[in-house]
Symmetry: C2
Subunit: 98 residues, 2 copies
């Protein structure tokens, strides 16, 4: 996963509504209606947020009749976690960790 993809995901998660949506999806698949209950936003606004989350690859939608069911995309999430986990803070010029 390259920096551009990571930046896109970060940007997607940089909105607090969307971050909370990601947290909810981390618990498992949720339908749009369920998500909508949780926030004080309109349906078009939720649709907008879900689109951004889907476009960066972090979220997938399963359409079932009239309803949309959302899940986190395992591959994207794993790659993102991998990237973030690879960041280090101890590489001081001193050459010592801690």
């Amino acid at each position: 996963m390259n920096s551009i993809d990571v930046a896109l995901i970060c940007r997607a998660m940089g909105d607090s509504n969307r971050l909370q949506i990601v947290q909810m999806l981390s618990e498992g698949e949720k339908c749009a209606c369920k998500l909508l209950e949780k926030f004080v936003i309109t349906q078009p606004t939720l649709s907008h947020h879900m689109r951004i989350l889907c476009e960066c690859g972090l979220v997938e939608v399963r359409k079932e009749g009239k309803w949309n069911h959302y899940t986190l995309n395992c591959d994207t999430l794993a790659a993102f976690i991998n990237f973030i986990s690879g960041l280090e803070c101890c590489g001081k010029d001193v050459g010592l960790c801690q």
Copy 2:
């Protein structure tokens, strides 16, 4: 670390210049001049980006005479990695992973 802090950090890393700066700092402490070399932005713009990175707590500055030296903040980074790593994708309604 609560969602608001995480969203702030994500937003900070949601700009591709800033994400690349974070990657560079992951290699170790860097001075502003060194960072500036790497990007096609002006000094005030770099200053602006560093401020955003510092304000969310991800980056720390060490002022030494005329120069600023930046590092990643270990505590914040660790808390952030911890939060992100805690996200899961396999919590489908089915109740099965994979």
